[in-house]
């Protein structure tokens, strides 16, 4: 039982790919690991080790307008936004929107 809990504990790690512009918040790392059952949880978890990251991604509790976050191949805006559910082994990618005037 203990062993299985420990195994599950390790497996909840979610890989998060960080774009160049946000790497100052991850010590230059291109990808970091976090955990959480929703995107909101994951961002809180990441913030505990990578201070300042969340403020770049979230505005007034919602995903910032010009930031795109994907779970595997899906845009989280089609999955409930900050409440998008995450599961073991998911891969999360953060990309700045490509937009302008």
């Amino acid at each position: 039982m203990l062993a299985s809990t420990a195994t599950r504990g390790l497996a909840v790690a979610i890989e998060v790919r960080i774009p160049t512009i946000l790497r100052p918040h991850t010590g230059g790392e291109k990808s970091v690991e976090g955990k959480g059952e929703t995107l909101a949880d994951l961002l809180d978890d990441l913030e505990s080790r990578h201070g300042g990251l969340k403020a770049r991604l979230v505005t007034d509790g919602a995903l910032a307008r010009f930031v795109n976050v994907y779970v595997n191949d899906e845009d989280v805006r089609f999955m409930g936004g900050m409440q998008a559910p995450l599961k073991d082994g998911d891969s999360v990618t953060v990309l700045p929107a490509v937009a302008g005037g």
């Binding site: 774009p19 160049t20 512009i21 010009f66 930031v67 795109n68 994907y70 191949d73 845009d75 805006r77 990618t93 990309l95 700045p96 929107a97 490509v98 937009a99 302008g100 005037g101």
Partner: protein, 133 residues
């Protein structure tokens, strides 16, 4: 400096002309050997004053670049009534400090305006454009 082949340069200008009066947008990918490839993207805003790439199309292209061992070299878009210089909106949204930002203006049907910039931390720096053979 932005280094681009004549073919790629012409393709970007042709895309901008074709989508006029709406803004056109796309990316330039660059291989390890320096070859630049034009990737036309959809402007989901379909607007003469704004562009936004489709988020899923961007993800697909980024994965494709990885698979092909290419890097994102530049992000291009057109201005259809103003000069080929980053607007305040362009500067505030610019999220790729590693890329060149190419602006093409189609305000004149005869004259080509094609300029390249770096946009880092809200600071715009123009750079030379070298068009190869």
């Amino acid at each position: 400096m932005l280094e681009i082949s004549r073919d790629a340069y012409d393709a970007v200008v042709a895309h901008a002309r074709r989508d006029h009066p709406d803004e056109a947008c796309g990316m330039l990918a660059r291989s390890g050997s320096g070859e630049v490839r034009v990737i036309e993207m959809m402007n989901t805003a379909r607007s003469p004053t704004f562009y936004e790439m489709d988020s899923l199309e961007v993800l697909r292209v980024m994965r494709e670049l990885d698979d092909r061992d290419e890097a994102l070299y530049a992000i291009y878009h057109s201005h259809t009534a103003t000069e080929a210089y980053p607007s305040r909106t362009d500067i505030s949204i610019a999220g790729y400090p590693e890329a060149h930002y190419v602006l093409v203006s189609t305000r004149s049907p005869d004259e080509v305006e094609f300029r390249s910039f770096r946009i880092v931390d809200g600071v715009v720096e123009e750079e030379p454009v070298s068009v190869g053979g």
